[in-house]
C-alpha cells in the first residue's frame, strides 16, 4: 500500500499488518513464559556462579571466575567431563539410529501397529524411581539379565557393580526409556512424506534401501533435526538413573556432569560452584547443538 495509506492507519493496525508485528504477537505469550520461567532464573544462576559462600564464616563474597578456576583444577570434574563425553558420543547416534529403525518399522500398516507402538513408547511413562528399581533388579548379580545369560551359557556379569560396565548399563536403561518416545516424533515425520513420491521412486526401479535414502530421509531432515537436538540435550542432562542406581560410582565411572552438579547443589549445598558447573555444561551443550544445526543445514 502507498505511504499515505500506511500513515493513515493507526499504529496498532500497522503492527497487525506488518509481518514482524504479527509474528511478535504470536510469539509474545510463549516467549514471555520462557523469559520469566527459564531465562531469568538462568541469568540469576549465572550471577550466583560468581560468588562464594563460606559456611565457616557465614558470609557471601564476590569471587569472579574463582569457581570456574576451582572446577578446572578439580580432577573429579575432569573425570565427569570425560564420562559425559564418552556417554554422549556413544548413546546419541545409537539412540537416533534405533529410533529411526523402529519408526520405519512401526510406520507400516501392520496388524495392531498402534498397540506395538504404544508398548515401545511405554517406558517413558514409567515413574523414574520405578524404572530404576526395575533395572536395579535386572542388573543385579543374581538378577534377571544374568539369569538369561546363564541360560545361553554366558557367565554372570557385574554390570552396575563394575566400573567397566556401569556406564554401558546406564546407557541401556536410558535407551529403553527414550527410544520409543523419539520414535513417535519420527513416525510423525514419516507420515508427512507423500506416498506419491515413494511410488514414483518405486516405478523408477529404486529398491527399498535406495527409496529410503533418496526419498524419505531428505524429507525427514526437519523432524530428525528436532529429535537429534532434543535427544542430545536430554542425554547431556541425564542424572536421575545415576542418582538412584549408582550414586556416580563405582569409582566415579557414572559420574555424569549433571549428577555432579546436582550433588554439589543440593547434597553438598555449594550452590555457587554448582551453578558455575551448570554454565560450563550449558556452553558445551550449546556448542554441540550449534554444530548439529550447522550439519543439518548444510545439506539443504
Amino acid at each position: 500500500m502507498s505511504t499515505r495509506e500506511k500513515a493513515r492507519k493507526p499504529a496498532l493496525t500497522r503492527i497487525r499488518h506488518s509481518p514482524a508485528g504479527v509474528a511478535l504477537l504470536f510469539l509474545a505469550p510463549g516467549l514471555l513464559f520462557l523469559l520469566v520461567l527459564r531465562v531469568a532464573p538462568a541469568i540469576s544462576a549465572v550471577a550466583s556462579s560468581l560468588f562464594h559462600y563460606s559456611l565457616l564464616h557465614d558470609t557471601t563474597s564476590f569471587v569472579g571466575l574463582d569457581n570456574y578456576r576451582t572446577l578446572f583444577a578439580d580432577s573429579d570434574f575432569h573425570h565427569a567431563v570425560l564420562v559425559t563425553l564418552v556417554f554422549n558420543v556413544v548413546i546419541n547416534p545409537v539412540q537416533i539410529a534405533i529410533s529411526l529403525a523402529l519408526a520405519v518399522l512401526l510406520n507400516q500398516k501392520l496388524a495392531g501397529v498402534r498397540f506395538w507402538r504404544a508398548l515401545v513408547f511405554l517406558p517413558i511413562a514409567v515413574p523414574p524411581a520405578v524404572s530404576a528399581v526395575i533395572w536395579d533388579v535386572a542388573f543385579q548379580p543374581n538378577g534377571l539379565i544374568n539369569a538369561f545369560l546363564r541360560v545361553i551359557g554366558v557367565p554372570a556379569q557385574p554390570f552396575l557393580t563394575s566400573s567397566d560396565q556401569a556406564l554401558w548399563s546406564i546407557m541401556i536403561l536410558c535407551s529403553w526409556i527414550g527410544v520409543g518416545y523419539w520414535m513417535m516424533f519420527l513416525i510423525s515425520g514419516l507420515q508427512d512424506v507423500p506416498a506419491s513420491l515413494q511410488e514414483a521412486a518405486q516405478l523408477d526401479g529404486a529398491n527399498g534401501w535406495q527409496r529410503f535414502w533418496r526419498v524419505t530421509f531428505p524429507m525427514l531432515r526437519r523432524p530428525l533435526a528436532f529429535v537429534l537436538v532434543a535427544d542430545t540435550v536430554s542425554n547431556f542432562l541425564v542424572f536421575a538413573p545415576v542418582q538412584i542406581l549408582t550414586n556416580g560410582g563405582p569409582e566415579n565411572a557414572t559420574n555424569l556432569v549433571m549428577f555432579d552438579i546436582y550433588r554439589r547443589a543440593f547434597t553438598l549445598g555449594n550452590m555457587n560452584l554448582a551453578q558455575a558447573e551448570v554454565v560450563l555444561l550449558m556452553l558445551v551443550t550449546l556448542v554441540v547443538v550449534a554444530v548439529q544445526f550447522r550439519l543439518l543445514r548444510s545439506k539443504e
Partner: protein, 286 residues
Amino acid sequence: MAAESTPRTRRRIGRRTLGTVVAAVIGIAFAFPLLWVLTSSLRPGNDIFSYLSPLSIGSFLPIDPDGSSYVALVHSDFGRAIINSVVVSAITVVFGLLFSAMAAFGLSAVKFRGQGILFGVVVLSFLIPFDAISIPLADLFRTVHLQNTYLGLILPGIGNGLAIFLMRQFFLAVPGEIVEAARVDGLGWWGVFTRIYLPLSKPILVGAGMTLFLFQWQAYMWPLLIGTEPSKQLAPIALANMRGQFTVDFGQVFAGSLVLTVIPLVLILIFQRHYTQSLASTGSKD
C-alpha cells in the same frame, strides 16, 4: 494399473506378516520389564525378591494373584494425588500447546528480521537444565506468593522451549502456496494459524502435547521445592512417600507406579488416531 501378479501379492503378505511378528516381538520386549512389575504388584511385598533367583515362570506370571496392594492404594492418598496430577497436566497441555503453537507459528509462517535470535532464545531455554534453575525459580514464586498453589505447579510446565522447537520444525514444512492463497482470499493470520496450520499438524500436536504432559506427570523436585501441601500433592511424590523409613512395601509402590504408567499409555493409544494424517494430497514441499 496392471493387475497384481500372485507371487508379488504373496511376497507382500509374507513381508507384512514378518513385519507384524517383528513389531510384536519388539513391543513385547520393551514392555517385558513392566510385566515383572505387574506380577510383583500382585504379590505380597516381602515375596517379590524371592522370585528373582532362580528365575521361574512365576517371576513373570502371577500364580497366586493377591490384589491387596491395589486395595491399599485405594484407601490411601494416592487417588487424590493422581487426580491432582491429571488436572495439573491437562491444564499445562492445553495452555502449553496453545502458546507453544502460537510461538512456533511466529517463528515459521512469517519471515522477519531477528527471527533467528528469538529462535536462538527458544533453543537456549531448553538447554537450561530445570534442576539448575529450580531454586532461583522457587524463590521467585515464593516472592509472588505462588508457593503451595496449583498455579505454581502449572506455570513452569507451560514455558517449554522444546514444544515450541518441535512445532516450528513441522510448521516449516507447511507449503507456502496454501498460505499465500488463503491470504489473498482475505484470511487473517489467526485464521491461517487455526484453519491451515493447526489442522495440518495434528500428529505433532499429539507429540508436543505428550512432551508437555510428561513434564508434569514426572514432576518431582519442583512440587517439593514450592512447599506443596498433601491435598495438592502430585502423584510421583505420593508414590515416593510410600517408601517407609525402615521398610519399603514394594508391592504397593509397584501397584502405584503401574497406575501412573497406564494413564499416559491410554492417552497415547487414544490420540494415535491422529497419526494417520498426512500431507500426501498436497504434493509439493519447499
